[in-house]
């Protein structure tokens, strides 16, 4: 009798917890379903290449300039933030006993939580205000600053996960530290390092706030130079969604579907990397 009662309570609790878990996943699915049902129909090769349509009249148009801008910004952010983040992470892992590394790590953990609009404001102050012009470089720098802590902290984990005995094996070959870390041990940590870079990639592709105050956005220009305004997909979504034009709303939905696809693809690739059978 008592046993039964306990069983019922157990079941009940399990049921409630499962329901809550499912409920917490609902928004993600709802968002994805919503974005694709509204936006997927606009996606085509031309949509990726073409200029946006004029607000009224004309054809469907596309997100060419924003896609080019995102590619340029993400590539620059990965080159700048990726290399700074990588070497910072390596330092954090290998000099973790030093004060400097401990403080740097704490600082980076704070940076992860930092409102990215403030990073944009910082880039505005140092790169936009002096040039008196919104520009691509300021956006790339802002994105770099945003992704550095993610990359550094994940690269640190990747190097930390290398067994000490492999590190000893590498150094016992009589090579210098840079060669040991970059030519031998990097391949032992490659999964973690790649994952770190992909997290940075996804972050750089998806961020909007750091771009608002830096690149301004263009509508009909693909690329005018690093010292000129440029567009990006998240920024296009923001601007077009706020516009009063129905056609731009459609482009924004299409762009959202493209962006979500990019992020999901990065996510799947990084999952596959982690899953790859461990040797």
């Amino acid at each position: 009798m008592r046993l039964n009662k306990r069983k019922i309570i157990d079941r009940l609790m399990l049921g409630i917890i499962s329901a809550l878990a499912i409920a917490s996943a609902i928004p993600i699915f709802a968002i994805a379903v919503n974005v694709y049902s509204e936006g997927a129909r606009y996606i085509s090769l031309n949509f990726l290449i073409d200029l946006p349509p004029p607000p009224v009249g004309g054809g469907g148009g596309g997100i060419g300039p924003a896609l080019v801008g995102t590619l340029v910004l993400v590539a620059l952010a990965l080159a700048i933030g990726g290399s700074i983040g990588f070497f910072t992470g390596l330092y954090l892992s290998e000099f973790s006993h030093t004060r400097l590394a401990q403080y740097t790590q704490m600082f980076l953990q704070v940076m992860v939580e930092f409102p990215t609009i403030i990073v944009g404001l910082f880039a505005y102050m140092i790169l936009v205000a002096p040039l008196k012009r919104f520009n691509a470089l300021a956006g790339a720098i802002a994105l770099s600053i945003v992704i550095i802590p993610y990359i550094a902290l994940n690269v640190r984990e990747a190097y930390k996960s290398i067994p000490y005995t492999l590190k000893e094996a590498a150094f016992s070959l009589g090579v210098s530290a840079p060669i040991a870390y970059l030519r031998i041990l990097l391949s032992a940590a490659r999964r973690g390092v790649l994952t770190a870079l992909l997290i940075g990639l996804a972050k750089a592709a998806g961020e909007t706030a750091p771009l608002l105050l830096t690149i301004l956005g263009t509508t009909f220009t693909y690329f005018g130079g690093l010292d000129q305004p440029i567009n990006a997909i998240p920024l296009l979504i923001y601007n077009f969604a706020l516009s009063p034009y129905e056609k731009w709303h459609q482009v924004a939905w299409g762009a959202a579907a493209v962006l979500l696809t990019i992020i999901l693809a990065i996510f799947i690739v990084s999952r596959l990397i982690v899953k790859e059978v461990k040797v």
Binding site: L166, A169, S172
Partner: protein
Amino acid sequence: MSWAIEVQNLNVWYGDKHIIKNVSFRVPKNVIFAIMGPSGCGKSTLLRAMNRLLDLNPHARVEGQVKINGINIYGDNVDVTWVRRQFGMVFQIPNPFPHLSIYENVALGPKLNGLVKDKSQLDELVKQALQKAYLWDEVKNDLRKPASMLSGGQQQRLCIARALALKPRIILMDEPTANLDPVASSKIEELLLELKEDYTIIIVTHNPQQAARVSDYVAFLYMGELIEIGETSTVFTRPSNILTEKYVLGRMG
């Protein structure tokens, strides 16, 4: 007599823990020199102090001298990569680079250190090293396969080949058979006797029988102190210290 390596008043600390206590000894060339002692007495630490691998541990501090060819490896202006290249090291747990192929595991050191001029020289060096480690016949058709597919004993011989490919003067071995089955262990012991022709071998073991079987000279380390050192036959038949006697008779852990 010229010595392969001379250790003088060596002290090692981990933090405030005094691990190696004023140890001095000399090793002649082309011999097998065994360092034996119970678990935790500091054997691995002593070995790593000899090629400055201990530098990797930020909490380790070393005092005293270790000389090869009369050069103190802890002296100023000594290049630590040069020091490490004088030694080949084999570890307690076989540690080939699991993500690299059998070939690359052996080739990596010579390649990165510029020991060879071209690919054919490298191929030859890899082959020689694998032959010396008695592994060639077992792997010659699988050179491109990952090292992780080898058995434990084969992995350890691969690590020996990796060490030999560096063309070192001295080979340091930290309990190279501790994690192997008896058959694989005896293969490695036979190999040691062959290698002695060309190299000086310093082998750490916690197994006195192994020291008796393979070594010419033996040192007994106990709680970080060098208790006794001498020709293996003497130390095992007429030990001069009661602790050594207990240890070689197997009356100590």
